[in-house]
């Protein structure tokens, strides 16, 4: 077992050896090493987060036919550091009548709900925080903490705009949690486990090829969960300014903003883990754990790029349209898809892998086609009803 095959374990053993050499208790040394590991992961994530600010600004600039930050350093790479210094030295304001403790805890919880997700992300076959056998549910649980942080921020600011922003955002997050949970069950059905590492290990064929519809629904639910366009209803310059975080200034606002960017990157990572084989790519992950980390970060960045692509291309929709879209379309489709996938899995379990793939894809296409046909006929009826009403009204005039 050398450093290049299992770097984390070698480093941990080496550090534990040093600490016990200093006369530290073995259990205490293990706890300290685990703590240092967590600290290292969070530090790396925060450094990535700094560059995500740069990536986001550069990419949005390209989508809008601009150049983006280009003054500080090569390609404007120093720009995010300037942003951070600005955020740090800004005045830290607390509004009158704010609930101080809740107001200050909310940004911490928001950041925490994102960082805690990385506890279950496997970076390489041997490099992961914990291989929880309930990894998929853990994502939803962390999301609930995020929901809580938003409602805390909105309420404690003592500002009606922030409360309305928080209401909208929470309504969206609570609703879109359901199709997300349902689509997380589909990789679980394929792999027979909710653990992230087991899901990746069983993806000899990427799950996107088995269930493209599930991947699409997961992406839509993830974008809604992030509160990004076209689901960015908490934000509205003409009606409620920037939503639940209006009253926050300086680094407290920065925590929400950085949390959102890291959250988008993280969901890009989960999309890759669930449907694109995670750290696996043509067996390259077996060569070196460092290559596996590079692969999963690359895939997460592609997922993040897709989320940005949607954000800067699609127009936002109204909240009633969005909730109707979720409850009347996405949730039923996701549930039907879970049932169909489970049934097909039970029928084709022992079958040839080509038959299995064809059956799965066909069932996906049929579910998508039937649901689109149902939507088409319902909306045609609705349109006829509305047009009929206007014709009657015109006749009365």
């Amino acid at each position: 077992m050398n450093f290049w095959n299992d770097p984390l374990k070698v480093a941990a053993d080496w550090l534990t050896g040093i600490f016990t050499g200093w006369g530290m208790d073995a259990v205490a040394a293990n706890v300290l090493v685990a703590f240092l590991g967590v600290l290292m992961l969070i530090t790396i994530l925060m450094v990535i987060d700094i560059f995500l600010v740069w990536i986001e600004r550069k990419v949005v600039a390209r989508f809008q036919d601009r150049i983006g930050p280009n003054r500080l350093g090569p390609f404007g790479l120093i720009q995010p550091f300037a942003d951070i210094i600005k955020l740090m030295i800004k005045e830290d304001t607390t509004p009158d009548g704010a609930d101080k403790v809740v107001y200050n805890v909310a940004p911490l919880l928001s950041m925490m709900s994102v960082l805690i997700l990385w506890a279950v992300v496997p970076l390489a076959p041997v490099m992961l925080g914990v291989d929880l056998n309930i990894g998929a549910l853990f994502i939803i649980a962390a999301g609930s903490i995020g929901t809580l942080s938003i409602i805390m921020a909105g309420w404690s600011s003592n500002n009606k705009f922030s409360v309305i922003g928080a209401f909208r955002q929470v309504a969206v997050m609570v609703s879109f949690e359901i199709p997300m949970l349902a689509t997380l069950l589909i990789p679980t059905i394929f792999s027979g486990s909710m653990g992230m590492n087991a899901i990746i290990q069983s993806q000899d064929i990427w799950f996107i090829f088995l269930s493209p519809l599930a991947a699409l629904i997961f992406l839509i639910a993830a974008i809604a969960e992030l509160g990004r366009a076209p689901f960015d209803l908490a934000e509205g310059e003409s009606e409620l300014v920037s939503g639940y975080n209006i009253e926050y200034s300086g680094m407290k606002f920065g925590m929400f903003y950085a949390g959102e960017l890291l959250h988008a990157f993280t969901f890009g990572g989960f999309w890759a883990i669930m449907f694109f084989g995670g750290y696996r790519f043509l067996g390259l992950e077996k060569v070196s754990p460092f290559l596996a980390i590079a692969i999963i970060l690359f895939k997460a960045l592609i997922g993040y790029w897709v989320i940005m692509w949607v954000k800067y291309t699609v127009m936002r929709i109204r909240i009633d349209q969005m909730l109707a879209f979720n409850w009347k379309f996405l949730t039923p489709v996701a549930f039907v898809l879970v049932m169909v996938t489970a049934l097909m899995n039970a029928l084709l379990r022992g079958a040839d892998s080509w038959l299995y793939i064809t059956g799965m894809i066909l069932s996906n296409i049929i579910v998508a086609w039937v649901s689109l046909e149902v939507v088409r006929s319902v909306s045609r009826k609705e349109r006829e009803r509305v047009e009929g009403v206007t014709q009657i009204a015109e006749a009365h005039h």
Binding site: N133, I134, G143, T147, W155
Partner: protein
């Protein structure tokens, strides 16, 4: 005392304290947030007991859904989040008496149980608790009937809620 026991005592004390704060604080939103802390403490106790699935479901259902709905309900129905009336009524001593007697009775009964002072046996490696739970809930020899009855009950509640909220045109 082992590390687990110390951890359990800390978590237990924090859970009890936040539970006490739920009923004593005057501000309803604070009460809901303390309730979240209490439920989170219960989730941590599940995690200490190696019941990871229950811990995560506790967070998803109680914090992610029920506590959020509490906060929504308080915000949407009250102008003032603070409660002004007295927080106990004339029967407070009866409630306190019942609580003390129940606690003493449970402690007494558990003391006569042989497993009271034993350490829990270690879970064998390779034991998949989630798999076992799933099989138990869906196998005919397990708990499939109670599971289905509970599902039908929840479905009935869901249909009832939709019926009540449905806008009759």
């Amino acid at each position: 005392m082992t590390g687990t026991q110390i951890f359990f005592l800390i978590v237990g004390a924090a859970t009890l304290f936040s539970g006490l704060m739920v009923v004593t604080t005057r501000n309803l939103i604070h009460a809901a947030l303390w309730l979240v802390a209490t439920l989170f403490g219960v989730a941590m106790i599940y995690a200490i007991l190696d019941a990871g699935f229950l811990a995560v479901v506790q967070v998803v259902v109680y914090i992610g859904a029920i506590a959020i709905l509490f906060i929504f309900a308080v915000m949407l129905t009250r102008r003032q989040a603070a409660e002004t009336g007295p927080s106990v009524n004339a029967n407070w001593w009866a409630g306190a008496f019942t609580a003390v007697v129940t606690f003493a009775g449970l402690t007494f009964m558990l003391k006569s149980w042989s497993g009271f002072s034993k350490q829990a046996a270690a879970i064998p490696s390779g034991f998949d608790a989630v798999n076992q739970l799933g099989n138990a809930l869906t196998s005919p020899t397990g708990y499939v009937l109670p599971f289905e009855v509970a599902s039908v009950l929840l479905l009935a509640a869901l249909v009832g809620a939709v019926y009540l909220a449905f806008n009759k045109k």
